[in-house]
């Protein structure tokens, strides 16, 4: 019973803590949009705090007391300005939807509490890092742990919310993955047209949750963090597309949602490349801005690699990117066989995460209807799937063993990018009728 109460408390912490410093007014002002929801506010604030957490993760500092002080101040501020916050909900349905949002947070969090066991990678790779910080270890101490070169941001945030909970139980830290997953889904669905009835919206929410929720992914994995960051990028891009906002703040958040990937998982470095390509191709602004964005991204990623090398001696992946094994693909039979195996596994992954069936279906339908091939969704899809082929062509490991364990999760990350696309397509179709 006490654990259930603490779960309520933990969720209350999330709801209050990530309500600042960006608020609805500020976001509306800079994005020029009138379609900003409380879930968008949470997303922008989570991005800011993730960046702050990333910075302090390199310093030996415990922020528990500071965190409580912030929570108390913020709670008082919300109580004092409650009328202002009620403006986040324009009608009763918005309030009901927010209650449903809290219900989903609770339901999934209770699921973790009922079986707090960590998954394979959760305990074998990621838990060590969270535990290191929980035990007052530093970034430098990570080098003594298994797979030190794995990025640490997700585990650092895991440690923060583990540390601030009075029970000291590890799984309370993992509830933040639930929070970012649920705000992602609700933020996307708040983009459904207001003309769509509440019941249909609720129905679509159930469907989207069913298509994207995987109990396994909240057992210490970083996949929902990447899913969230992909979604954040497309959400911010969508703000810009809809409102033609010229705000540099929006560009800053686009930059942030890409860059943070570097510190979440190794694949993040390649995802930065994909998202920077999407930015440079589809961000309709001056070339100088695009060039500055790309240059800054290259400099910061390079500096981050140097920083990792400084602390851990070197910067490495699971295996070297270029290896002599690649020459075997000069034999077209080996090439075709590998291509077939990867394709087969991609199809299995799409069936496992059926959100991809919807994505592919909508992409095809849109292509048939609009007859326009060059858009950011199609280009993202091609580069993303291409990247997956490259990863498994490149590896020297036995792909028959490796792919069933990893490929489905890699496929899942990218689905976050398409949530806005799905919702916009649904808006088009449902309103036509």
């Amino acid at each position: 019973m006490i654990e259930i109460l603490y779960i309520f408390l933990q969720i209350f912490f999330f709801l209050i803590f990530f309500l600042f410093p960006i608020n609805k007014n500020l976001l509306e002002k800079y994005s020029n949009s009138k379609n900003v929801s409380i879930y968008d506010v949470y997303i922008f604030n989570f991005l800011i705090y993730s960046f702050i957490f990333l910075l302090i993760s390199f310093i030996k500092i415990k922020i528990d007391i500071l965190f409580y002080a912030i929570i108390i101040i913020k709670t008082l501020f919300v109580i004092y300005n409650y009328k202002k916050y009620l403006r986040y909900f324009t009608n009763n349905n918005d309030k009901k939807y927010f209650l449903f949002f809290i219900f989903c947070l609770l339901a999934i969090s209770l699921q973790i509490a009922s079986d707090p066991k960590l998954g394979w990678d959760g305990i074998a790779h990621w838990y060590y890092k969270a535990s290191n910080y929980f035990q007052n270890g530093t970034y430098q101490d990570l080098k003594n742990l298994p797979l030190a070169y794995y990025p640490h941001l997700g585990t650092y945030i895991w440690n923060i919310f583990w540390s601030i909970n009075p029970t000291g139980l590890e799984y309370f830290g993992r509830i933040f993955y639930v929070f970012i997953y649920v705000i992602t889904i609700f933020s996307a669905l708040e983009k459904l047209s207001k003309e769509i009835t509440f019941n249909i919206k609720l129905f679509i929410t159930f469907i989207l949750l069913a298509l994207t929720f995987d109990r396994f992914l909240i057992s210490g994995y970083q996949e929902y963090f990447l899913f969230f960051l992909f979604y954040s990028f497309s959400l911010i891009f969508n703000f810009k597309d809809e409102t033609k906002s010229k705000s540099l703040l929006i560009v800053f958040f686009l930059f942030l949602s890409s860059y943070l990937m570097f510190w979440v998982k190794q694949e993040g470095l390649f995802y930065i490349f994909i998202l920077t390509t999407i930015f440079s191709l589809f961000y309709q602004k001056s070339n100088i801005l695009k060039l500055s964005y790309i240059t800054l991204m290259v400099i910061i990623v390079f500096a981050s690699i140097k920083l990792k090398s400084y602390y851990h001696g070197n910067f490495s992946f699971n295996e070297p990117i270029l290896n002599s094994e690649l020459l075997k693909y000069l034999d077209y039979k080996i090439f075709l066989n590998t291509f077939y195996l990867i394709s087969q596994e991609i199809i299995k992954a799409i069936i496992k995460y059926p959100i991809w069936i919807i994505i592919i279906l909508f992409l095809i339908l849109k292509l048939i209807e609009k007859k326009k091939f060059i858009n950011k969704e199609n280009i993202f899809f091609i580069i993303y799937i291409g990247l997956i082929y490259c990863i498994y062509f490149q590896t020297t490991m036995d792909i028959n063993e490796l792919m069933p364990l990893t490929l489905d999760r890699v496929i899942f990350h990218g689905s976050g990018f398409f949530l806005i696309f799905i919702v916009k397509y649904l808006n088009d179709k449902l309103l036509k009728k």
Partner: protein
Amino acid sequence: MIKSSGYCEREGYGFIKDMIQKHKIPDNPEVKNFSNIYPQVYGYFFDIKRKSNSKYIIIINAENNKLEYFKKQGFAIIENINNNCYLLKK
């Protein structure tokens, strides 16, 4: 945790926890789970302030030939449950 990760089966969570407490193992013991199906759950007990210690080895899902190897290395069996979980000491 024991319910989901097992005592002396699966990940052997309960056995590892008991051994560390019962024998007051001062440093981080080496834990080996010889089953490829389950992950190593040693991380749950890892203490960054303690040194890694090869004086103690905890074995889960033991295989005879590997157990023999440790015996030849000078390890003695301190605890044995169902010939599946062992605590060895040098």
